[in-house]
Symmetry: C2
Subunit: 364 residues, 2 copies
């Protein structure tokens, strides 16, 4: 695992855009905050939690990018509101926490209509309610550019808080949730596949309203079945890589990933492997490290709640790196903030090529 | 107090900029969130707090505007970082809460230098440490426009949480903290007054690093000496008006407000009344409603901690409106978001004229 010593100090005149997110974390943030408990985890641990009966208090904050589905023509602000809550609740899921509420921070142009604002709030409130929580407060101000930020606060059972560390060689990696819906919908929108209307509707629904794995994270944490966890916010590869780095481990990942029927059909029509689709981002799955003896119990526990989970790999010694099960090193897609790969929207065909690793058909 | 019934529904195509903040709150937010505990208070109350031993958990979130001192030539990002924490901790102060930590959310252009980022973090960390807390987590991403948001989480003693309601006719209004420093510095920068260098330095210091009244808020809340409180984030008038509306009261406010020597001297040189300076924003004072019998005890309690407090008025029946002690109605400065008065920087001379109610000397 790279430590501070691997990164010489950078001079004050270097641009953040020339450093990239990883170097910013190692050069600037880790030296300053590395001693803060839960540094690097999806959720922060609040001070003084031990004075609150039987509970670790956690908090997480994320601002919301333009949803990919907006580019796909789904411009209803509802989806943006839904996503704003999803990305924050998903971090609580990775900590195994139960939400106590969210606060929201909206900067909106004065040209926003009341109707657009109401739809945004509908999406926020519906998603929060779906996860058994709600908006308890917030801040609203005008500004030149829309900027949406939320903070979710939650509590964990004593000793049950999950972070990114705590795994060992031999632990299995469970992918919790159903991947591939968002990018299947992108392929449908690009007409690289066709499906009957009801199936398209279902895939659109899953793409527009992704479900954070809150119940799953809490169940696994409470039952002591998870050793480490992280949500898939930027793609499967960066998630696995971060877990490997945090634990000083390598991993072998299977390419034989299962998709639900709809995404699998889209995949086949578009000439993609299922793994290509499954390793993309946008479905807010969790990667959870589980002792090999606990895999079956974990899967059954989740299945009883209607949550899909599949084993996708094994932690191995660090020296082995991150490889696929055919023995080739894995260097999957990863958007890195403060780098050219940082995603802010853009041309769909090019995006599909970048993310799914293939050229869109000419003329599309 | 205006209720939902006073505001007919607005159609979806009305622009937020044509509604203004107050109407947005009454038309859109109150019908949706009015039933949430602590709606309208400076801090939100988290659900399930009663399950946590002897504590009300509160949270507040605010994004940070460009500090006025930046326009005054103090361009060090340190001051922006300091302000980001101040505005959030000040809301905890108004709730009488003790901070458990803050999470931060930075959207920064890729052209930000490492040095600028470090100075920003220095200001954030120093201000948090000054208030006995720290940054426990956050989110960092690149974007076209700098946007800084923080969320502070705190706890109150059982039954000691302060909000904006709870006051009655006859309660006195205490102004906690020392007003006038920020705008005194603006007047010095505009050369409408001159002071010896050490005094200028002191005023600059107070303007650049305002102190949220965290200790004062907690002391008054814990001792049961405060009935309602709100921080002065947008000026004294909107704070008093909001407290009046929340409690269904009017107020009589004295214009005989005390300033510290430095701001008082600037005031006199600039030909302004002390009240003109004291009613502006930027010093993160608190307005606290106190029973008349408790005023002296409250002042002594604060004085023992080195915190200045002065009585600035009395709550009266609603019908009397908000008046000054000479009997004239008071309509002070108030920046309202989503209105032309919403402040985003701009020309200093004009700003001084707008906020302090006088024209800058010609030629300045």
């Amino acid at each position: 695992m790279p430590g501070v010593s691997d990164f010489p100090p950078v001079s004050d005149d270097v641009l953040l855009g020339d450093l990239g997110e990883h170097a910013i974390v190692e050069h600037i943030l880790r030296p300053r905050y590395g001693g803060v408990p839960a540094f690097g985890d999806d959720c922060a641990l609040l001070d003084g939690s031990d004075g609150l009966r039987g509970s670790d208090l956690v908090a997480t904050t994320d601002s919301c990018p333009t949803p990919l589905v907006t580019i796909l023509g789904e411009t209803d602000p509802y989806h943006t509101g839904w996503l704003l809550v999803t990305i924050n609740v998903s971090d609580l899921a990775a900590a195994g926490a139960t939400p106590l509420g969210l606060v929201v921070n909206y900067t909106l142009p004065k040209t926003t209509t009341a109707g657009e604002f109401r739809r945004l709030l509908d999406g926020v409130d519906d998603c929060a309610e779906t996860h058994g929580t709600r908006i308890v407060g917030g801040d609203l101000r005008d500004g030149p550019v829309r900027q949406l930020t939320a903070t979710a606060i939650g509590r964990c059972v004593p000793g049950g808080r999950l972070g990114r560390t705590g795994s060992e060689v031999g632990d299995r990696l469970l992918l919790v949730g159903s991947p591939g819906y968002l990018w299947a919908y992108a392929l449908l929108a690009e007409e690289q596949a066709r499906l009957p209307e009801p199936l398209v509707d279902e895939i659109r629904e899953r793409a527009c309203r992704p479900m954070a794995q809150l119940t799953a994270g809490r169940l696994l944490a409470t039952a002591g079945l998870a050793r480490a966890a992280m949500d898939v916010s930027d793609g499967l590869f960066p998630t696995v890589r971060t877990l490997c780095r945090a634990n000083g481990l390598g991993a072998v990942i299977t390419t034989d990933i299962q998709l639900d029927d709809g995404p699998a059909d889209v995949c086949a029509q578009a000439g993609l492997g299922r793994f290509d689709l499954a390793q993309a981002w946008g479905d807010w799955t969790l990667v959870v490290a589980v002792r090999s003896d606990d895999v079956e119990l974990a899967r059954k526990t989740l299945a009883a709640e209607g949550v899909a989970a599949q084993e996708i790999g094994t932690f191995v010694p660090r020296e082995a790196g991150i490889a696929l099960d055919d023995g080739t090193p894995w260097e999957g897609i990863a958007q890195e903030r403060f780098s050219p790969s940082s995603w802010h929207g853009g041309d769909l065909s090019r995006l599909i090529a970048d993310v799914l690793g293939r050229q869109a058909p000419s003329g599309s």
